[in-house]
C-alpha cells in the first residue's frame, strides 16, 4: 500500500511539475532552433547582418 501511494505521488509530481516543464522546454528549443536555422541563417538575414557589420566595423 505504501509503495503504491509513493508511486502515485511520484506520478502526480511528474504530471504537475516535470511534464509541463518538458512541454515548455520542447517548444522553447523548437522556437530557438527555428530562429537560428531558418531566420538568422537565411539569405535575407545574412545580407542584413553583413550590412550591419560593414557599417559598424569593430
Amino acid at each position: 500500500m505504501a509503495g503504491n501511494k509513493e508511486g502515485n505521488q511520484k506520478r502526480l509530481k511528474i504530471a504537475r511539475f516535470l511534464w509541463p516543464l518538458l512541454v515548455e522546454l520542447w517548444i522553447f528549443v523548437a522556437i530557438a532552433t527555428f530562429i537560428v536555422v531558418r531566420v538568422l541563417e537565411s539569405h535575407a538575414a545574412q545580407r542584413i547582418l553583413g550590412a550591419i557589420k560593414s557599417s559598424h566595423p569593430l
Binding site: 509541463p20 522553447f28 522556437i31 536555422v37
Partner: protein
C-alpha cells in the same frame, strides 16, 4: 480575358458539384454538413476529370467540353437551389473567428489575383513542361493522347483534363486561377478533418489557416501544380476509410481511392496503405468483424480499380504497360512497346537526383521531422512547413492517443512518410501529411495551453505566430511578381519576354500567318508556348518521336512531315543544331540564340 478565366472556373466548379452530388447517398449519415460539402466538391472534381478523360479518348473539342460541363451544371441545379434556399441556416451555423479567417482569406485572395497572371518559364517548370502542355496539345488535336515528345504526359490526368476544359473555355490564364479551387478544397478538407478529430470550429479555422500559410503546401497549390488538390483527395479517402461502416461507405472509399490513382501514380501507394490501416482501426478499435471488413474493403478495392482503370488501360493499350514509364517491377509482367531506354534512363537519373532529399537510413528517417522543419531546401521544400507540426504536433498526438480515428490517421501518416522516404523525397509530395501535422499541431496547442503554465501558453502562441509570419513572408515573396503581372499589363508583357526562354521565336511563330507547322529541333524548348501544331523529333528526356535517331535522319524525313518552318536554338555546347546556310531552308527570323527557317 481575366473575367472569362474566372467564369470558366466558376462553371467548372458548378459542374463538379453536379457530378459530386451523385455521391450524396453514399456519404455516411454521421458526417457533418461541412464533410458533405467537401466530399461532394472533391468527388465532383474527380468524377469530372475522369469523365472528361474518357470522353476525350474519342472527342475532345470545345463542344465536347461544353457538353460535359453542361451535364454537370444540369445535375447541380437541385443541390444548388437547396443550398441557396438554406443559406441563412448555413450562415447561422458558421462561427467565424476573425484572425484565422483573415489569414486564410488573404492567402486565397493572393492566389486568386496571382493566378490570373499568364504562365511564364521554361521546361524546368513542371507546369510548362507537361501539366499545361498535354491539355494544350489535346485541344489542338481534338483528342486526349500522350504527347510523344514528353514522357510525363503519360501520367494519370484527372486534374490536367480539367486544365484542358478551362483552357478551352477560359484561355491560358484559366488553369492558373484553378489554384483557388485546389487550395480552397484543401483548406475545407483540413477544417472538416480537424473537426472530426475533436477540434471546435475555431480550432478548425486555425488548422485551415496554418495549412494556408505553410510555404511547401502553398507551392503545391499554384502554377499548375496539383499536389494540394491531390492531398485533399487523399485526406478525403482517409476521412471515409476510418469511419466506413456500411457497404455504401466502402463504395465511396473506392471511388475516392480511384480519384487519387487517377490524379497521380503515388495515389496507388496511398490506396495500398490506407486499406490495411482502415482494416486495423476497424477491427482493433471498433471491434468489427474481420470477414465483413474483408468483404467490403475488397469491394471498395474493386470499385477503385474499375474507376481508375481508364487511365491505366489507355497506357496499357498504347504503350504495352499500365504505368508508363514503367517501374522495374512492372517490366517483369509487361513488355512496353514504346520503351526507349535512353529516355527512361534520362528521366530516372533526373528523378533520382531530385528525390534523394537528405539521404536514406534509419537515422535520417528518425530525424525527418527536424530535417523537414529546418532544412526544407534539401527536399525542394519552397520554404518549409513552419514550426507548428514539430513544436506542437507531438502533444496533439499525445492528447488524442485514445481516439481510434486520430490514431488511424497517425498510422497512415507514418506509413506514408516511410513510403515517401523510400521512393521520392520531394517535400510537396507529402502535403497530406503536413495537413495532418497541422491539425495535430492545433490540438497540441490547446493541450499545451491546458497542461503547461502561463509560459507554455505564451510559447505555443509564439510558435503559431512565427509560423504564420514566416509563411506570409515566404508566400508573399513567391507570388508578388504574379500579382504585379496580373494587375499591370505592361509589367506582364515585360515579364513574359524576360522569363520565357525563346520568347521572341514564340511571338514570331504565333503571329506570323505563313507558319502552319513547326519542327522544333531542340528538346529543351517549351512547346507549350507555341499555339500552332508542332513536331519535336527529340524530347527533353531523349524521346525519339519520329523514329529518327539524329538530325540527318530527321532532315531526310522532312518532305513527309508537312512542316512549314524549323525552330533552332543554340544548344548548351554553344552550337546550333543546323549548320550555317542549310540547303533547302531560308532563315526568316533571328534573335540572339534563336533562329527560324522557312522550309522551301
Amino acid at each position: 480575358m481575366k473575367t472569362i478565366a474566372i467564369a470558366a472556373n466558376l462553371l467548372l466548379v458548378v459542374a463538379a458539384i453536379g457530378f459530386g452530388n451523385l455521391l450524396h447517398s453514399l456519404i455516411p449519415k454521421s458526417f457533418s454538413r461541412l464533410d458533405r460539402i467537401v466530399l461532394i466538391l472533391l468527388g465532383g472534381l474527380g468524377l469530372l476529370g475522369t469523365i472528361l478523360f474518357c470522353v476525350g479518348q474519342v472527342w475532345f473539342t470545345r463542344s465536347a467540353v461544353v457538353l460535359v460541363l453542361l451535364l454537370g451544371v444540369l445535375l447541380s441545379l437541385r443541390p444548388l437551389s437547396t443550398a441557396i434556399r438554406d443559406w441563412r441556416s448555413v450562415l447561422a451555423e458558421l462561427s467565424i473567428p476573425a484572425i484565422p479567417a483573415a489569414i486564410a482569406l488573404f492567402v486565397i485572395l493572393l492566389t486568386a489575383v496571382g493566378g490570373l497572371a499568364l504562365p511564364t518559364g521554361d521546361t524546368n517548370d513542371d507546369a510548362i513542361a507537361y501539366h499545361y502542355l498535354g491539355p494544350k496539345v489535346w485541344l489542338q488535336q481534338g483528342v486526349i493522347r500522350p504527347v510523344p515528345d514528353e514522357i510525363q504526359t503519360y501520367f494519370p490526368v484527372v486534374v490536367e483534363a480539367q486544365y484542358a476544359a478551362l483552357m478551352s473555355l477560359g484561355g491560358q490564364r484559366a488553369p492558373g486561377f484553378f489554384a483557388v479551387i485546389g487550395l480552397g478544397s484543401l483548406l475545407l478538407t483540413a477544417a472538416s478533418l480537424a473537426m472530426r478529430m475533436g477540434l471546435d470550429p475555431t480550432g478548425a479555422w486555425w488548422a485551415a489557416a496554418l495549412v494556408a500559410v505553410m510555404p511547401t503546401i502553398y507551392r503545391g497549390a499554384y502554377g499548375g501544380f496539383l499536389d494540394a488538390l491531390f492531398a485533399a483527395f487523399v485526406l478525403a479517402c482517409a476521412r471515409i476509410a476510418f469511419d466506413a461502416e456500411q457497404p455504401g461507405h466502402f463504395a465511396l472509399l473506392g471511388i475516392f481511392c480511384a480519384i487519387c490513382m487517377g490524379t497521380k501514380y503515388t495515389g496507388i501507394i496511398c490506396w495500398v496503405l490506407l486499406v490495411p490501416c482502415s482494416f486495423l482501426v476497424a477491427t482493433w478499435a471498433h471491434r468489427r468483424g474481420a470477414s465483413f471488413l474483408l468483404k467490403w474493403l475488397g469491394a471498395s478495392c474493386a470499385v477503385a480499380i474499375a474507376l481508375a482503370s481508364p487511365f491505366y488501360l489507355r497506357n496499357w493499350i498504347m504503350s504495352g504497360t499500365p504505368m508508363y514509364p514503367a517501374p522495374p517491377a512492372l517490366l517483369k509482367l509487361f513488355t512496353p512497346n514504346y520503351l526507349q531506354p535512353a529516355a527512361i534512363d534520362g528521366l530516372v537519373r533526373a528523378m533520382n537526383l531530385d528525390r534523394q532529399g537528405m539521404g536514406g537510413g534509419i537515422v535520417n528517417f528518425l530525424l525527418l521531422p527536424f530535417h523537414l522543419t529546418y532544412h526544407t531546401a534539401n527536399f525542394r521544400g519552397a520554404g518549409g512547413i513552419g514550426l507548428v507540426p514539430l513544436a506542437l504536433g507531438p502533444f496533439g498526438i499525445i492528447a488524442r492517443r485514445r481516439d481510434p480515428f486520430a490514431m488511424g490517421l497517425f498510422l497512415f501518416a507514418v506509413l506514408q512518410v516511410g513510403a515517401w522516404f523510400a521512393t521520392a523525397q520531394v517535400a510537396r509530395y507529402m502535403i497530406h501529411v503536413y495537413v495532418i501535422g497541422a491539425i495535430f499541431g492545433v490540438i497540441g496547442w490547446s493541450y499545451a495551453v491546458k497542461t503547461a503554465s502561463r509560459n507554455g501558453r505564451i510559447l505555443s502562441q509564439a510558435v503559431v505566430a512565427i509560423s504564420i509570419l514566416y509563411g506570409f513572408w515566404m508566400i508573399t515573396a513567391s507570388r508578388i511578381e504574379d500579382v504585379r503581372a496580373a494587375i499591370s499589363p505592361s509589367f506582364e508583357a515585360k515579364r513574359w519576354d524576360r522569363e520565357t526562354a525563346d520568347a521572341a521565336s514564340f511571338n514570331y511563330i504565333n503571329h506570323e500567318l505563313s507558319v502552319k507547322k513547326v519542327l522544333i529541333l531542340n528538346g529543351q524548348i517549351a512547346a507549350y508556348f507555341i499555339d500552332k501544331p508542332y513536331l519535336k523529333p527529340f524530347g527533353r528526356w531523349g524521346e525519339q518521336t519520329l523514329g529518327a535517331t539524329n538530325l540527318r535522319e530527321v532532315l531526310s524525313l522532312l518532305p513527309g512531315l508537312h512542316a512549314t518552318h524549323i525552330l533552332d536554338v543554340r544548344n548548351e555546347d554553344g552550337n546550333f543544331a543546323l549548320p550555317e546556310d542549310p540547303s533547302g531552308l531560308t532563315l526568316v527570323f533571328e534573335h540572339g540564340d534563336q533562329r527560324i527557317y522557312r522550309i522551301d
